[in-house]
Amino acid sequence: MSSPNSAYPDTPDSETPPRRHEWPLWEIFIRGQHGMSHRHVGSLHAPDAEMAIKNARDVYTRRNEGVSIWAVEARHIAASSPSEKGPLYEPSESKVYRHPTFYDIPEDVGAM
């Protein structure tokens, strides 16, 4: 379920709406010069999407870190619950055969 804190499941949910003067929280993803995908770099506050991109430009790309920015409002992120850690992740711990380390990958394939 998506909630105001779904990006931070460890933060207790609260029924009270965010304080009136608080801008919404945005999660920022940046693709670097040679990166192939956007990576989460942090979060910030902004009144709307356009300003979120601008703020991200000023906060997270000052040192030439990126060529593309995504911003998504944190409340739109659906996140898994830490209390379900056992059922979700432990079963895969004993299944080493799922790792592709048993195969030789031809060089032509490139990055996977």
């Binding site: 910030l44 506050h45 009144p47 709307d48 430009r57 000023d58 906060v59 000052r62």
Partner: protein, 252 residues
Amino acid sequence: MSNPAFFEFLCRMGDNTLVLGHRVSEWCGHAPVLEEDIALANTALDLIGQTQMWLGLAGEVEGNGRSADDLAMLRDAWDFRNVLLAEQPNGDFGQTMMRQFLFDAWHVSMLEALQQSSDARVAGIAAKSVKEAAYHLDRSGDTVIRLGDGTSESHRRMQAALDLLWPYVGEFFVADEVDSAMAEAGIAPDPASLRAAFDRRVADVMSEATLTIPESDFAHKGGKSGFRHSEHLGHLLTQMQWLQRAYPGASW
């Protein structure tokens, strides 16, 4: 000096970015939110970087061995050639953003024109600066729109800022003998030729921001000629220059 008008012009460009850059840097650590604090510091640093180029070239053209640092730190108020708008106090955050927008709206047009300068060094500095200025304009324009078309309190403050600062924009566009010499040499555009683009930009943003541009064309003057700065410049210089004045030649 072979070309005093050229030196004067370069000081105008460099003093605008120096004085405004210092003003904007005064927000560092004080802005209403962290994101704006960083954005303002970035803007200030861009402007100071441009100052190094303009005043560096000014020193070169003057030919007396003065560096950009010498010009920035060792001249007194009457030697500064920035427009009066740049030295006006920050006021509240809205007033700072309004001053920034009015400056940026002129600055972008000026730098665009300077890219065609007959002097390759000027064209080079303009080409590097115009990208920074375009972002400043984008950002300050967006902020003016959001605050103008925001709450009744933010609208009131932005209209007050526009009313306060509007009499300072005229100075950008009034030519004197320095400007005429620069235009004749093809180094810089005739200031008046930038007015139409400025008015269009400002009108677009103000209408979206639901703000009313004052009708009066009265213009404060005396900054770029150095004839009469406002009292604020001297106070700014005491802050900006005190270290070089108290510890001459100090560096790190």
